[in-house]
């Protein structure tokens, strides 16, 4: 187990370093003076000179990078030009909203995709299977912002069942919060459900071919016991990995969903920052999400190795 953990750490660290170099480069190496970019619409030469000093912009590039990295490691991602708030504070303010949206959408996606995937695999080439495949491909192909707009048109404008937009914190009004989050979560979960369903179906088909499943059936176990107790557990493993890998996609989706439903989360923060030319916020959000993604996938891998002793023994599962 330990060699596996170390191996994962040794691959995660260089990746993290490259991520910081890339985030740094996006800002520094692109055309245009970074001091002007950081200053936003502020054109006062004194302010620009101050920024140049503060961020070591007159120094050679490697010195600039390490100065910046030192700040980042101390949790200082800079300040928003608009609100003067520290970027870290802004991120942690908006994060819970997006996390709630993401968790709800994962819940919806899992609740839909696992049963549909299992049924599609067990009843391969049946009508239900074709319907499931059609659902999955549609889920992959539908732009989630359009799905959001269509749902608002039907559910909110035409039927008047749910509010079209806005956000109420769960702690203040739980019911109102759920009423406003259910539609965005459904929209965000559709793409994920499609991916998970396809994976669930194919890994279930793979597992159902295995010898131990045939043995279980030969022993006379009832079909659904074989499927649910013997096959599902093993078939779920790749689905969980895919779920980890889809978290980035979920965040991308959240950017759009939050825009459609006017939810004040992470995605809206970054889009607003782009339009306000609030570059420190954009950079902070990009760095934070990439780091979080690497850490989450690292933890998923470790959890995975704990659950599956074959991986930890070989130590080089790829």
């Amino acid at each position: 187990m330990l060699p596996f953990v170390f191996q994962r750490i040794f691959t995660a660290i260089p990746t993290l370093i490259i991520v910081t170099i890339m985030v740094f480069s996006i800002q520094r190496l692109l055309p245009g003076d970074p001091a002007l970019i950081l200053a936003g619409e502020e054109q006062d030469p004194q302010v620009i000179e101050y920024i140049r000093e503060k961020y070591h912009l007159n120094d050679p590039m490697p010195v600039q990078y390490f100065a910046w990295l030192g700040q980042v490691l101390r949790g200082n991602l800079g300040q928003s030009i608009r609100t003067n708030q520290p970027v870290t504070q802004l991120i942690f303010q908006k994060l819970p909203v997006t996390l709630e949206l993401a968790l709800l959408s994962i819940l919806i996606a899992v609740l839909v995709s696992i049963p549909v995937g299992v049924i599609s695999a067990v009843r391969k080439n049946s009508f239900i299977d074709y319907l499931g495949t059609l659902f999955a491909l549609s889920g992959l192909s539908i732009p989630n912002f359009w799905l959001g707009i269509m749902l608002i048109l039907l559910v909110s404008v035409r039927w008047n069942l749910l509010p079209a937009s806005g956000f109420v914190p769960f702690a203040e009004e739980p019911l109102e919060n759920i009423k406003r989050m259910i539609m965005p979560a459904f929209v965000l979960g559709t793409g994920l459900a499609a991916v998970l369903m396809r994976q669930m179906r194919s890994s279930m088909l793979e597992v159902l071919k295995q010898d131990y499943i045939r043995t279980a059936q030969a022993k006379g176990l009832i079909r659904y016991v074989v499927v649910l107790r013997h096959a599902l557990r093993n078939a779920l493993i790749p689905v969980i990995t895919i779920l980890g890998l889809q978290l980035g996609g979920l965040l991308s989706g959240a950017v759009l969903t939050e825009q459609v439903f006017t939810i004040p989360g992470f995605g809206k923060l970054v889009v607003d920052a782009v339009f306000n030319r609030d570059y420190a916020v954009v950079q902070g959000v990009v760095l934070f999400t990439a780091t979080a993604y690497i850490l989450i996938n690292f933890l998923v891998d470790i959890a995975y190795a704990l659950a599956n002793p074959r991986i930890s023994l070989s130590g080089d599962e790829t």
């Binding site: 996006i26 992959l140 404008v157 993604y293």
Partner: protein, 288 residues
């Protein structure tokens, strides 16, 4: 000579069988026809569109579908049908060019990484992992923010963000093909690295790269429309499906027709590319 002949025969057989299998799948064929239709619409947009897609007509603002305006008009009185027809251009260009960028970066890096291995492989793979760690749209948004919003920059951002898939895929293919006997034989007969890569490895990795490219076009079309929806892609008044939806969301009560057609166009086009990609994958899959 016999090695060369064997290589060509092998590829010919593979392509022939794949083509036969592909043609026996009606859904993939229909998807192919839809893609063809989409390309024709994009190319011949000026001939097909009944009105100028960018010219405002303030007498007919937000008119519902009628005999004159089949799909209605938008907030500036522009014909939605004409804008949907012209919008196909942005999607086609974005889909094809960003995938071209991704292939141009991804395939050579994957080839080098898989073929030479060692430290170079390690560096390229960590770079790929790092690129994969950026949520695609957030990376694209950051690049669009730094470079300025435009279709060109959106395509660069989408191309860069899609490259890791090609790096990994090509590397995996190379690792598989490298061990095959015909590659070993070519190496034993003194073929150079470049010759082996271009004549033996690349053609044998072609099928999965083609499948990935088709599916990536689907993703790129959604990505372009997403960026345009956020206002970071195609800039008005040039029509794009995402941009049209961006405006349409402000008029959902007054003019719901504005939102239906651009979205439906994205959906159908992307679905066609996904179905086509699935069909290609099945046709090339040696396991069936």
């Amino acid at each position: 000579m016999s090695l060369e002949l064997g290589r060509k025969q092998r590829l010919f057989k593979l392509k022939n069988r794949a083509l036969r299998r592909f043609l026996s799948r009606p859904i993939a064929l229909i998807a192919g026809i839809i893609i063809l239709l989409f390309v024709v619409i994009a190319v011949f947009a000026p001939q097909l569109a009944p009105f100028d897609p960018a010219k405002p007509d303030f007498v007919s603002v937000r008119k519902p579908p009628s005999d004159t305006y089949v799909l209605g008009t938008d907030e500036n009185g522009r014909d939605i049908l004409s804008r949907v027809i012209f919008g196909a251009r942005a999607s086609l260009v974005a889909g094809v060019i960003s995938v071209f960028i991704a292939v141009l970066f991804g395939v050579p890096l994957g080839l080098v990484s898989g073929y030479y291995g060692g430290f170079l492989d390690e560096v390229i793979m960590r770079f790929t992992d790092a690129l994969l760690a950026f949520p695609f749209l957030i990376l694209a948004v950051a690049l669009a923010a730094a470079l300025g919003p435009s279709l060109t920059n959106a395509m660069i951002a989408i191309g860069i963000a899609s490259a890791p898939a090609f790096i990994r895929l090509t590397r995996g293919q190379v690792l598989g093909v490298k061990a095959e006997e015909f590659v070993q034989a070519a190496r034993a007969s003194g073929a150079s690295d470049l010759r082996i890569i271009f004549l033996y490895i690349l053609p044998n990795s072609f099928a999965p790269i083609l499948v990935q490219a088709t599916v990536t076009i689907a993703g790129a079309i959604i990505a372009e429309s997403s960026l345009s929806f956020l206002g970071l892609g195609v800039q008005p008044p040039t029509p794009s499906w995402g941009g049209m939806l961006n405006v349409a969301k402000n008029f959902m009560n007054q003019a719901p027709w504005m939102a239906i057609w651009p979205g439906l166009s994205i959906f159908i086009t992307v679905l066609a590319f996904n179905l086509f990609g699935d069909g290609l994958r099945d046709a090339f899959d040696p396991r069936d």
